[in-house]
Subunit: 333 residues, 2 copies
């Protein structure tokens, strides 16, 4: 069972997931071995993964865990957290721990081994974003979970261990501090101004345009004012909405359009970089919030977290967001 | 002039340091080119660096910026922050910025190009730790600075761009959030218990011994309860002390003994890994604090920050600290 441990000084939780462990002598970071053999995400290899929990594109009458799907969601074979059990919060002297309860799932974005997320058509990418929503709606019924983080690691330098296009979700028994900080910061702004700070940001970015990358009827894409890494790019709904899972499919289609274009622009500007993206949404089962606003943060993996960043929480970024946005506006999306 | 920008939602500061910029097409992360040519930190090449601000080992009568030194501190040639100017805090719509004022210095740890920090004798390493103190005592006279972060990036995977053994310091016009979180967390514990939480941790680690790596008369080395990365290791004075610069040289000598042994053990256990370390101390000119306690955090660069870590602030660690400590106890230090 993985262990969730809380740092006693700053309250940061860490997942000690020994079943993902390697021997100390294997810990050196090296390029992944070329993936000889079978890809567990290819059609026909469905038996190599745990049984699917969601599928799009296969007729309901067809047998599960077989080809014919367009998007397929399966539990992670090497989960960071385990789905069965109780939290069992305990003290160990001055320290706190609980069992590593949670869900860890993989969203296989396409049956085609050779297509990346940015190669998907808007309709195909819409099905991926709809699968995100469907998994939130299912998992939020489990009252042990407080938050679901949806994210993507693309490329070895961004932490991906498999090439086949996939995103991931981790359902957590606590709301992660990164999200709490956003929620609390947004609430302070709301208390002061009675406005959503994300709506204010959308307003200023659309007016100033210096950091704007693109917009459509429902979404705006821009380089944030204080980006942690070069070419960090945020995708935000123009209309106020705190909960990702509340978006109807028609709006997710416009989000897919914006996300696909963003990834193609980053690919064109930076030569198909490794990247991460994270979906930040309101905690599970929280009602609509007037102060919080869901969004996607895309981070190309171009710089390293080093001593200064670890020790300060500051980031050093050599590329102003205005320059990054200008570059991204010019390349084809 | 670098730009310090504050994220409007969570308050995180980012340094936009354009003079360190490369073209977007150069942004791909690759191994560094082999360092042909001259090393700016080798004796005889003192003219390749900015003029030294501190030196150990050279007689006062000898000319500066010439060989004969044992430790040499120089301003960084490509500083993240600039020493001249005023902060000039400004609003830009809803956003906040100030000039990137600060100091960025390099501590060259040895004249010998081929020796790493862990190869230094205890006496040599003591001179390095004393140089850290001397620079804090000098820079704290500049009232624009609120904090000095001392850190080391060793190896390419940990963000080092030069091989020659060196540490760095960055003097900042704001106290970084990572430190504020520690100070505030420690103060909450003190308010509740009237004890320093770091002293409590030292007590529990020395008693339990499961995470203990080594100790000497003044310092204890252990794997923390909730490590962010495999083999993260903390070095902490046993006696309560909030301010690094208040330590007399005799105690820094025992810190050097503990640090050298820690680095050699990590090198033996993990095959000379890239690593970072950070010195966390009380903010500049703050009086002795009963609740805060300086320490060094050593982090081997073994895992990658990926989507889940960026999005949640959680870390996933496959190696329990008890296993890491047992391993580190067994290898020669």
């Amino acid at each position: 069972m993985p262990d969730l441990r809380r740092d006693p000084i700053v309250g940061r939780w860490v997942i000690i997931a020994t079943e993902r462990a390697r021997r100390p002598s294997d810990m050196q970071r090296t390029a992944p071995a070329p993936q000889g053999g079978l890809c567990p995400f290819d059609p026909g290899n469905e038996g190599m993964t745990p049984r699917e929990v969601y599928v799009a594109g296969r007729p309901p009458s067809a047998p599960p865990n077989a080809p014919g799907w367009k998007v397929r969601v399966v539990p992670n074979r090497f989960p960071a957290l385990k789905i069965e059990g109780e939290l069992d919060r305990q003290a160990e002297g001055i320290y706190d721990r609980m069992n590593g309860i949670g869900a860890h799932e993989v969203i296989v974005e396409t049956p085609d081994h050779d297509r990346a997320m940015e190669d998907l058509t808007p309709a195909e990418l819409t099905e991926v974003l709809f699968a995100f929503k469907a998994r939130i709606l299912d998992l939020r019924n489990d009252l042990r979970f407080k938050y679901i983080l949806l994210f993507k690691n693309h490329g070895h330098l961004a932490g991906a261990s498999l090439e086949h296009a996939h995103s991931q979700l981790i359902a957590l028994p606590v709301v992660p501090r990164q999200v709490i900080e956003e929620i609390e910061g947004a609430r302070r702004h709301f208390d002061l101004k009675e406005r959503c700070i994300f709506c204010d940001i959308v307003g200023q970015e659309r007016k100033e345009r210096a950091r704007l990358v693109l917009e459509n009827d429902e979404f705006v894409v821009f380089a944030p004012w204080a980006p942690r890494s070069p070419f960090e790019t945020w995708i935000m709904p123009k209309r106020h909405q705190s909960n990702y899972e509340a978006e109807p499919k028609e709006r997710l289609a416009l989000c897919a359009e914006a996300l696909g274009s963003t990834l193609r622009r980053l690919g064109g500007a930076l030569g198909k970089p490794a990247y991460n993206f994270m979906v930040h949404s309101n905690p599970l089962r929280d009602a609509q919030s007037p102060s919080y606003h869901w969004h996607i943060e895309v981070m190309p993996a171009l710089t390293q977290v080093a001593g200064f960043e670890w020790g300060s929480g500051f980031h050093i970024n050599p590329v102003p967001p205005e320059e990054a946005a200008e570059f991204l506006r010019k390349v084809p999306g």
